[in-house]
Subunit: 426 residues, 2 copies
């Protein structure tokens, strides 16, 4: 196989004609392949079915005697707070058990900040005119959608294999009081799969924001989602903040949506004691408490942070072959052509495919026409606009391995076709 | 027994001295009686334990094949929407299954209206300067707390046995565009226990608000919570609205917090199709969906609206004797003295005791000192301020009947003592 950049126009034209034939042969309108979202496969959901088989009598009373079937305990069941505090390297006082959707917790954190303000802030965000958020790119579309919904201007921050460009982050955060937050997926990031380096985490902790109400939204969604023998280690940002005296600057979010059940698991907000107390006071107006039966159900199933980590090994056994399939197909079909790059993630749910400029939308459209749904091109960018139109998020989790193999073959044909069109148009 | 108003000062003084002795005898610092909140008794929670004993295999797939363990279905599981639509006399298209707390749904409805606006409104509430809500009194303290949190001015509206003073409501709503909403608990209202008359419901439906974004917050919390043979009938406000062409004006809220488990049940937002579509678009930014496993769990347990009504008969069997105890004690100990009035509710969770002006705080304080916690005096009023200081919310559900008997005896002693103090000070 020859690199496309080394081909003459005639060679490119011949290759295009060959790839078009491959595409015709592979296209099937009746096919319905879906790699659009980071949804677990049913086999992964099956792993947690024993959690639903607990005798009802195990789901009534906490260690200290609280009836989980009744009102109360806004911050959540003690043993559950301890469980997640342990997992996060924090204290139970840092934990709010917040329902079943970490996205909901993030959204609510933004609406509270907008309408009521945050701990230490002089007034609510919404009373301060223009608001801005920093958005490391590529990133998570649902983060960006929250900013867009509330008219918060998004500023893209480039990322490399160590995380966001911290010089740029520092420049914005420390000079502009209208910069109120930054979205981070610091481990096995969505979609590029990289883990922030210790230096990056320390640079976050060392920020001296111009705003008195700036927050780092630390969406640690893939905390326990390594699927290789070696798990990448993310520095505990609160440890770094403690050294820098900046603990109040961080909201950390996790959920078990990709540990137990998606949308029926537990979500956690972790923060400094100052933040937790302040938030609970606001949260107490919103609800009397979240689902404590589900909290106890999860606690009984895991018992300890190590219980969660052991459980995740079963997920890893399902996920690893899927990533192998994606990465091997890309390695074989695309790498020799020199038309794209990607990070090989050791965890998380995605591979970010970076092709030639101007090929992402076209590739996704070609896939769509051939029966394969991908995440929309542009989705990993603020306002859905990929400036280079070259990043595609690949989500291998939902299909089974055989389907995934077919889908990836089709993807590579489409990617080649789009690349050839661009090269021939030059 | 002689009416206190017929007593001479000397007789009142003698009575005070006698009641003080009763109080001393009944006071016990070590006692801990609690009638402060509308919490179900564990025996009521036990009624739904079979719901938790379902085999896990029943908790995986909906009728149409949706895996409830995975992401999706923002508006909820179809069969659950049908169940509650049937209960409310609506269509599934009118239903959003919204988590486990109707309070949370109401709060979120307010924050969405503040930041984003409502269907048909020209701009978000928060961009319109001063905002007002009408608050029929006595009412639910957690409703009022939401308004207070967001600086929404509360205007008290007197109620009688037919519901709020609709002339006053009409006057405010139809003349003042800053009036954005009204809080209603239309059936077995919290705390007075009255059910709005058909005429009142029709008057609501006939409102022609000055604001283009006014909403009735119809908190039908006690919809199926009758505990007598005869259940009071609340006119379906959406039927009345359909006649008046005002369906978009109403948000109805219900939950199973006092049907299955408090804080671990299901909450429902019912509204016109216009509202539902508009809200789902906003809600889709907040979350991917609520807990569908719990939705299917509830559906399997009830199967039909009639299943819910049958289940509520078991609650009624527990609640009725408690209300008998409260009402009989008041009838025997207080009625002959002519110092208070109350409605005898056929459902719901509360009795509103209306004593002589200036006695509520004192009565609650006397109870507290003697070991009985009541809802704070003033709680059923905006800003916690009872203008007459004479309404006390009695919540009989949590204690068992024996404890309740002792608590009510103590309550009556305290109420008499407070009344005598006021009468003697005149």
């Amino acid at each position: 196989m020859k690199r496309y950049s080394d081909m003459t126009k005639d060679e490119l034209r011949a290759e295009l004609s060959a790839v078009k034939e491959e595409y015709s042969a592979a296209s099937r309108g009746d096919r319905k392949l879906d790699m659009s979202r980071g949804k677990p496969n049913p086999a992964q959901l099956d792993l947690s079915m024993p959690m639903l088989a607990q005798p009802p009598s195990d789901l009534t009373v906490t260690r200290k005697g609280t009836d989980v079937r009744n009102y109360g305990e806004l911050a959540g069941v003690d043993e559950c707070k301890e469980l997640f505090a342990d997992l996060l390297g924090l204290k139970p006082e840092n934990i709010i058990m917040g329902g079943q959707s970490s996205l909901n917790l993030m959204y609510d954190s933004i609406t509270r900040a907008l309408l009521l303000g945050v701990y230490g802030g002089s007034k609510p965000w919404s009373q301060q005119g223009k608001l801005k958020f920093l958005c490391p790119i590529p990133g998570y579309d649902r983060h960006f959608a929250i900013c867009q919904e509330f008219g918060i201007e998004m500023i893209s921050i480039p990322m490399d294999d160590n995380g966001p460009d911290m010089d740029l982050v520092r420049q914005y955060v420390e000079s502009d009081p209208s910069v109120k937050g930054i979205w981070c997926v610091p481990k096995y990031s969505n979609p590029s799969g990289i883990t922030y380096s210790d230096e990056t985490v320390r640079a976050f902790a060392a920020l001296k924001p111009a705003a008195d109400d700036f927050r780092i939204f630390w969406d640690n969604a893939y905390l326990v989602h390594g699927f290789r023998d070696e798990d990448e280690q993310l520095l505990n940002i609160f440890d770094a903040c403690r050294e820098a005296g900046s603990e109040d600057m961080v909201y950390e979010f996790i959920s078990t949506s990709k540990v137990t059940f998606s949308g029926a698991g537990l979500a956690v907000l972790a923060a400094s004691e100052n933040n937790v107390k302040f938030i609970l006071k606001q949260m107490g107006v919103q609800t009397i408490g979240y689902d404590k039966i589900n909290q106890l159900r999860h606690y009984n199933f895991f018992r300890s942070a190590d219980g969660i980590r052991q459980h995740m090994k079963k997920h890893a056994a399902i996920m690893a072959p899927k990533f192998d399939c994606v990465l091997m197909t890309l390695q074989m079909e695309i790498a020799p052509l020199g038309i794209a790059s990607w990070h090989e993630p050791k965890g998380g749910y995605f591979v970010a495919y970076t092709g030639l400029p101007g090929t992402a939308k076209r590739t996704v459209a070609l896939c769509k026409d051939a029966g394969l749904t991908l995440t929309g091109a542009g989705a990993p960018f603020p306002y859905g606009k990929d400036p280079e139109d070259n990043v595609i998020r690949i989500a291998p989790s939902y299909p089974d391995v055989n389907t995934l193999g077919a889908a990836m073959k089709l993807f590579c044909i489409c990617a080649r076709l789009a690349a050839l069109e661009v090269l021939l148009a030059e």
